[in-house]
């Protein structure tokens, strides 16, 4: 039974991947672009999931790190003239390094205190990018040249899809390992974790740095898809959006960030372009309403809620079978 379920899951995942691979040939160019962006955002949500979902530390600086990753890539490729394949990992490393510098003092604060320290950091980064025109490129922003093999829209789609799959695999490796369990122990009860020998600060810092590396990657991919950058990429509102995607999708799961990000991103885009005046004008009202309702009725997000419904249905089914046998 267990093995069968495992095979079924693997088959379902493969089918999903197949569909994802086929999509560029079924959809219009615009949809391909939106999906590419949504997948890049998903990588960002996955990065937040590591530090918030598993390690339990609510970072509100991921908007800033997203922008830092994107800008460092853009600057390396366009202004410094570095090679694409060198700039990609370097940009992520720069983000991770900055994450370490921010994490070192801030991870000593806990809960809401950590959230606010990171939020303050994000505000600072936004203001610096807004006012320092040399850095942000001012009114003209920062151009991000694409390598020849990413000129086609579908090529960028597959490029981002590949990184999304890679991120999911790495996250799964981490989460299912002793490392992931250690992070969860810190989320669950930091005092106890320390008492059983877990160096909580070191583990939190590791999770934060890995998370920053990943969100930097998301920034690079967003920059590549858009081809240009401006200071708004460092907005703290993006930190809030990532939080929304994560909690609505389902925190501390791997499918939650995917479902939440792609679902909400497409929902917002759909409401904007549906062409019905009221819907377009009041799309943020509807979006807000969705947030409130989902969080009230599905505290564990869409994936958590779906799981609960599935378990409930299975429980009923089994009970039904048992009754039949008994009868």
């Amino acid at each position: 039974m267990e093995k069968k379920a495992k095979y079924a899951k693997a088959a379902a995942l493969l089918a999903l991947l197949g569909i994802a691979a086929a999509l560029p040939w079924l959809l219009g160019k615009y949809q391909v672009r939106i999906l590419t962006l949504a997948m890049a955002w998903t990588i960002a949500t996955l990065s937040l999931n590591l530090i918030l979902g598993y390690a339990g530390q609510a970072s509100l600086a991921h908007g800033a790190f997203l922008g830092i990753g994107a800008y460092s890539f853009g600057i390396m490729v366009e202004r410094v003239g570095l090679n694409f394949w060198l700039s990609l990992p370097l940009a992520c490393l720069v983000t991770a390094l900055l994450g370490m510098l921010v994490g070192l003092p801030s991870l000593r604060a806990k809960g809401p205190y950590f959230a606010i320290v990171t939020l303050c950091f994000n505000v600072i980064i936004l203001k610096v990018f807004e006012n320092w025109n040399w850095l942000s490129g001012g009114i003209q922003g920062q151009v991000v040249p694409r390598p020849a093999f990413l000129v086609q829209r579908w090529a960028r789609y597959y490029f981002v899809l590949a990184f999304l799959v890679l991120t999911l695999v790495v996250m799964r490796l981490i989460v299912k390992s002793m490392l992931g369990v250690t992070l969860m122990s810190i989320r669950s009860n930091e005092d106890l974790a320390e008492a059983v020998g877990v160096n909580s600060f070191r583990n939190k810092l590791l999770a934060f740095v890995v998370s920053c590396f990943t969100v930097g990657l998301a920034g690079v991919l967003l920059a590549l898809e858009n081809g240009q950058l401006d200071f708004t990429i460092t907005n703290y509102l993006y930190s809030f959006y990532l939080l929304i995607y994560l909690l609505i999708g389902g925190v501390a799961t791997l499918s939650g960030p995917v479902v939440g990000t792609i679902g909400l991103y497409l929902l917002l885009d759909y409401m904007k372009n549906i062409g019905i005046k009221g819907v377009e004008e009041f799309r943020y009202f509807l979006f807000g309403l969705v947030l409130v309702l989902v969080i009230i009725f599905f505290p564990m997000g869409i994936v958590g809620g779906a799981r609960r419904i599935w378990e409930w249905a299975r429980g009923r089914l089994r009970r039904g079978e048992a009754q039949e046998v008994a009868g």
Partner: protein
């Protein structure tokens, strides 16, 4: 017998309040020490000081000949001191077996890169951890709960689980803060039995309790605290007859 743990002149102030006042005692290797005292006597604070959760204001803590005063909790734990908390602390939403695995984490060395590259070291440690989990589940009789979230098993089993988690790191000294607190009278036997068997494994134990009767049979020696001051120390029987203790406990233990 040499002393595994020596506490010398340990003091902790909270604002102007003295929670623990110049307490000295020793715990000999392989023994069970009972620490008793009325509510607010400073017992839990004492454990927090030894375990590193609080830095002491004054005094020294020497463990196996090493001065561990002011160490962070995880270093104290790695040195071989395990502890449980008064209000049962577990990783509640995680299954019992994962709780145990976390208790083992400090004895494993695989890190981020081992996880990404799936090194042989990680596989070996994973197997070792699994074996240890099975062994401790057996030892504490928690096998039937292995897959359930720790927060949802019965109170008494949670108490045993807390001890089991502490056991996973193969400590030399175990600090148990009210291991039977909040458990019905009829259910304490199993826990007391478990503590005895823990000692039989060669682990030195310090127990905080205020159920004095239970301590009489379990402890080799007892320390009595009142208002942060040590008022008596010695064999259980002898301590119980101490007039200062009788006064502090309002004659509770004579019965």
């Amino acid at each position: 017998m040499t002393a595994l743990l020596q506490v010398q002149g340990l003091t902790r102030l909270f604002g102007g309040l003295v929670a623990v006042n110049k307490v000295d005692f020793e715990v000999p290797q392989g023994s069970i020490l009972g620490i008793i005292g009325p509510n607010g006597a400073g017992k839990s604070t004492l454990f927090n000081l030894i375990g590193g959760a609080l830095p002491p204001s004054e005094g020294r803590i020497v463990f196996a000949g090493k001065d561990i005063t002011g160490w962070r909790p995880y270093r104290v734990a790695r040195e071989g001191i395990a502890r449980t908390f008064q209000t049962t602390a577990l990783f509640e939403e995680l299954p019992v077996y994962i709780n145990l695995a976390i208790g083992r984490r400090m004895r494993t060395r695989s890190g981020f890169w081992d996880v990404l590259l799936r090194t042989p070291r990680m596989r070996r440690e994973r197997e070792e951890t699994t074996a240890k989990v099975l062994e401790v589940l057996e030892f504490t009789g928690l096998g039937k709960y292995a897959n359930e979230p720790a927060g949802s098993i019965p109170q008494e089993a949670q108490k045993r689980l807390a001890i089991a988690v502490a056991l996973m790191g193969e400590p030399r000294l175990m600090l148990l803060d009210e291991p039977t607190g909040g458990v019905g009278m009829g259910e304490t036997d199993e826990i007391i039995d478990l503590i005895g068997r823990v000692r039989d494994r060669g682990i030195t134990v310090c127990v905080i309790e205020h159920k004095m009767r239970m301590m009489m049979s379990l402890a080799d020696r007892m320390v009595v605290l009142n208002f942060g001051v040590k008022i008596a120390e010695g064999e259980p029987r002898q301590v119980c007859e101490d007039p200062a203790v009788i006064e502090a406990y309002l004659g509770e233990c004579i019965a």
